[in-house]
Amino acid sequence: MGPFPLTRLLDKSAIVFLVLLAVFAFAIPTLNLLVPAGSSLHVSTYLVALFGKYICYAMLALSIDLIWGYAGILSLGHGAFFALGGYAMGMYLMRQIGTRGVYANPILPDFMVFLNWQELPFYWHGFNHFAYAALMILLVPGLLAFVFGWFAFRSRVTGVYLSIITQAMTYALMLGFFRNNFGFGGNNGLTDFKDILGFNVQAEGTRNGLLVISCIALALSFLMCRAIVTSKFGKVLIAIRDAEARTRFLGYRVEAYKLFVFTLSACMAGVAGALYVPQVGIINPSEFAPGNSIEAVIWVAVGGRGTLTGAVLGAFVVNYAKTFFTTGWLAPYWLFVLGGLFIAVTLLLPRGIIGTLQHWHERHIEKKIMAVPVSAPTAAE
């Protein structure tokens, strides 16, 4: 047995989740590519891209659940890390356009030519290499989270105060990225992507490929989160969430624990953002909008915080509802629905969907344990 025994990693709900995800990752491309367009089973390419987007949202939700559900850190600015990862990917995609842009400049992206820039800013260097961009996708959100967390957690900023400064962080970034002289395309952002690693981003094959890769990334993130929350480290996180002072008194350096998990979560959000951008074809400063981050927290609340699978489910349910409500005559009512959903979940289902199911299950097991006669030995873990 290694340090991460599989039995610990894969409980029943984790297996169900991974199987469903695998079926999903297999079925959608099959129904899109192999089933003829006329058939009722055919999944349109529009839906493939939409589902790909949902998967990326699910990954963002997972990263929020890791810190909020297990360490009690309510970040209302996680959209910022998502967007930063997205921009890093966007910069790579921009550099891939080359002479196919409107101004056909082999080095400068169109918006720079439009602004009369003569050369590429230093921070755009290297983004023509995918490996470098991939590194930045992890590094930029991770570094920002590390520096931010370093100051916040060391000064013992917690609760609502931390939430507020995370909102301020994403808002400040949004204002910055809106500026043309920032060098990220201002309010238009980065778009008009042509290809990724040599594959046309618009092609059906690429879209299906990206969906499958997103599913794999989600599965790996999920397994990593499971490994963390089922370890002793995860138990310390829960202890911090429920009784921070007591944990400190036991001799744990609470700020080191928070900093580690916050940074890791930001990297995960960055990867989600990076996978999101080629599938939606654009990244612009509105991704930094504070409302986006709050919406992502609502996904987790709806699915059930501190459950991991709930975060994924919540992201799917709420975004499906959003897609449903924002198309057609219901469009004007979406924000009311979202607000109503949040109030309903807070009042009626405070544990979220998965959380409530787990609670029933645990109560059932607890009853069984209580029923065991006192002398009977209880199985050790």
């Binding site: 370890s231 007591r246 036991l250 344990i369 209880t378």
Partner: protein
């Protein structure tokens, strides 16, 4: 300040602590020998909690000496974490266990181990650690509820679990604040037994109001009053002392 040579595990000399002119401790002095168990009694406001705060580094004394381990450490110069690492463990009045974790996990978190991020990420339960947890579970009489979540325990059981978490940290000196508050009579007796067992290889200071419990412990008693020692001796000696009777009954 020079360190003293003394045989005592804990050495308090002339400790004074005042809050806004009110002297919570007034020239308090006493020594605790290794392997001793001492009961500290005294009416409300006698300075019992402040004394604990001084020993654990929560409060700095205005004057006086606090030495630990035969005078090798000056506790008035160390902070809470450093003192905890030296091996002084404290159980607060109100039990604070991690409600959502199992009894066993509560102990596992308290076990004396590297507290760093990397070591908890890679942590694996070893037979030695499991034995240690089993021993503690035996001692605190919670073996049959080991997989239950701590939140579902009775008040008395939570107190025991908290004592167990203290033991898991392998302290040299245990400070136990009102361990039997809110316990039933039989739980009180069992707690006295538990503390006596712990005392076989550890030094214990118990602060308690419950006289029957103190009598059950059968150890040397120090009675505090207005921040200094009023009487010291066996429970019979102390409880028949006229001054003690006076402050307790307010005559």
């Amino acid at each position: 300040m020079e360190l003293k040579t003394t045989s005592a595990l804990l050495y308090l000399d002339g400790i004074t602590v005042s809050f806004d002119g009110f002297k919570a401790l007034d020239e308090l002095s006493f020594v605790i020998e290794p392997r001793e168990m001492r009961a500290i009694i005294g009416p409300n406001g006698a300075g019992k909690t402040t004394m604990m705060d001084v020993i654990t580094g929560k409060t700095r004394p205005d004057s006086g000496d606090v030495f630990f381990e035969q005078g090798s450490y000056d506790l008035s110069k160390l902070d809470e974490t450093e003192i905890a690492e030296l091996g002084i463990g404290r159980k607060f009045q109100k039990p604070t266990v991690f409600d959502i974790h199992s009894v066993e996990d509560n102990l596992m978190l308290a076990l004396k181990n590297d507290r760093g991020v990397r070591s908890t990420l890679m942590w694996k339960n070893s037979p030695a650690q499991q034995n240690r947890i089993d021993d503690i579970l035996d001692a605190i009489r919670l073996k049959n509820v080991r997989s239950r979540v701590a939140g579902s325990l009775s008040h008395g059981q939570k107190q025991w679990l908290e004592i167990g978490m203290l033991l898991a940290q392998e302290p040299k000196l245990l400070l136990v604040d009102e361990p039997v508050a809110g316990m039933t009579d039989s739980e009180t007796l069992q707690t006295a037994e538990l503390l006596k067992e712990i005392n076989r290889d550890k030094t214990v200071i118990v602060v308690e109001h419950d006289m029957a419990f103190v009598r059950e412990l059968g150890v040397k008693v120090t009675c505090l009053h207005e921040g200094s020692v009023l009487a010291e001796g066996s429970i019979d000696q102390v409880s028949t002392n006229d001054r003690v009777v006076e402050v307790y009954l307010g005559r």
